[in-house]
Amino acid sequence: MTLAANTPTHAQAYHGLVARRLVILGVLVIALILSVAVDVSLGPARYAVSDVLRTLFLPAQADIQMRVVVWDIRMPMALLAVTVGASLSLAGAQMQTILANPLASPFTLGLSAAASFGAAMAMVLGVAIYPAAVTLMVPINAFAMAMAASLLIFGLSTLRGVTVETIVLLGIALVFTFNAALALLQYFASEQALSAVVFWTMGSLTKATWGKVAVTAVILAICAPLFARRAWALTAIRLGEARAAAMGVPVKRLRLEALFLVSLLAAVPVSFVGTIGFIGIVGPHVARLLLGEDQRFFLPGAMLSGALILSATSVLSKAILPGAVLPIGIITALVGVPVFMTLILTKGRKAW
């Protein structure tokens, strides 16, 4: 046997692979920082980049109007793009992992549709699910419906004999159900309410506040480490349920835990920004193509790619029509799809 002579080569090759992935993660971080910086410097009010930077780093010396624009309008928007992108992408990544389905995402499993229906309930009928906070009626309704939809999926997946295929089919059924219910509401809506609903479903970051940034960041900060602790087990699930179970992974329990976390991760951002469906599917696929599916790299990678895509889209949504901010949900799909198609057709043929 030439075992001794060969031993270092595969380990070395593996170290090389790890190093390459760390570089990719590093590049993603840098790209994200750049994208956020550009995002903050762009907007309907035209300021020079140098002025924006001065306001960012020396807020006390800046002009008060500019300080408000940069710190209270642009920064929350730019950061919300990051937290929402990361959350939706992480949610999609783990849905795809535990359901062994490349199509699983908050969008395709009906969470976004449920949230839209909840928001429309508030805007068309004025029905508040939690009447104590009428000013937050839209996001609270959206969150409640999204959570209800994911808890329904969660509950049904605990039943005996329910397979991952059943869960995915059920999610698709939810999409159609909520879309139909939404259409019904729109049919009876006043013109004003109708346009509010349509605008909401397009997805938008313009209602960003520091509070929303904080809430999404906290949820991310809770969920990501919980997933990270289960990194090996989650990766093993992708080898197939039987194999993972044979390796000692408690597949059913892990799937339930993950579904619960995913519900939170997806429902909150969707209730804040509306339907930005694309990120939850594309973010994870980009990360998978770049980094593989070892969760030690895939998990941060999915968060970073989701954040980067949404942040870059936010930049585009301001840059395409100077002076206007286009709804981000539209841009993500229009610009993202061709990029995504190129990626999967050139690189991703073998996975899935």
Partner: protein
């Protein structure tokens, strides 16, 4: 030395009882043991019961090892994860250990497992690129990388060509000899069983039909009862016992 003994094992899924009464003599580690039986006889169920994935009647007595030293390799299914072969074996090693860091010892264990089963040249390949036989070899490496003392393998050679079957069975045999582990393999090729496995457990309809030394168990009567075929066990020109299949059992007997 590791030993394993089955005593009146039962198991099933819900109300559907699959195993009713499986017993075996003491299985000694250090050699291969075969589990034979027709399709749907309950071989996989028995493995899952021994591995503790299913509950049921009877006792599995284990000495010289604990449940944590047991590994079960299910029948081959596709692996489509975006992982390299090397990564997939690391993954098997790290289950239940935790920690994101990999030590040199761990990487060496992965290397050793890949070499032992002749798939070191595939280390950097993606799982999705593998053929069925290569995938099966990777599964075997994944199963043995943790150096388990009790190994249950569901048809480990079903997708392998003749040459690879010999290689893999020899590698499994040497693993058993080196570690004193109990290896039970569900196999269909009875000539392979006679060549490699010292003991054999034969089951049908959830019951033991025979269990003990391979040549004593694999008699024409038992084979007829197991598979419904007429077969003879005769010495070949080199003196090795071989099974010759004559065809489906005739009704008269």
């Amino acid at each position: 030395m590791v030993t394993l003994q089955l005593d009146r094992i039962g198991a099933g899924y819900g109300r559907h009882q699959i195993l009713t009464d499986i017993s075996s003599p003491m299985i000694q580690g250090g050699a291969l043991t075969a589990l034979v039986g027709a399709n749907a006889a309950g071989k996989s169920t028995l493995f899952r019961r021994i591995a503790g994935h299913l509950r049921g009647a009877g006792t599995v007595s284990l000495s010289g090892a604990t449940k944590d030293d047991l590994r079960y390799m299910p029948q081959d299914t596709g692996m489509s994860a975006a992982l390299t072969v090397y990564e997939s074996v690391i993954l098997a090693l790290k289950q239940g250990r935790g920690g994101w860091r990999l030590s040199t010892t761990e990487l060496n264990a992965v290397d050793k497992a890949l070499h032992r089963f002749g798939i070191a040249h595939l280390a950097e390949h993606q799982l999705a690129e593998l053929s069925g036989g290569q995938r099966q070899s990777v599964s075997i490496a994944q199963t043995l990388v943790t150096q388990p003392k009790v190994v249950l393998m569901d048809e480990p050679t079903s997708a392998l060509d003749l040459h690879r079957q010999f290689e893999v069975l020899e590698a499994l045999k040497s693993y058993a000899q080196e570690t004193g582990a109990v290896l039970i393999l569900a196999l269909h090729d009875l000539n392979q069983v006679m060549r490699c496995c010292t003991m054999t457990i034969a089951i049908a309809n959830g019951r033991t039909l025979g269990a003990g030394s391979t040549l004593e168990v694999l008699t024409p009567t038992l084979i007829r009862a197991l598979y419904g075929i007429d077969a003879r066990v005769e010495s070949c020109s080199r003196g090795c016992p071989m099974m010759i299949v004559d065809g489906p059992a005739r009704q008269s007997a």
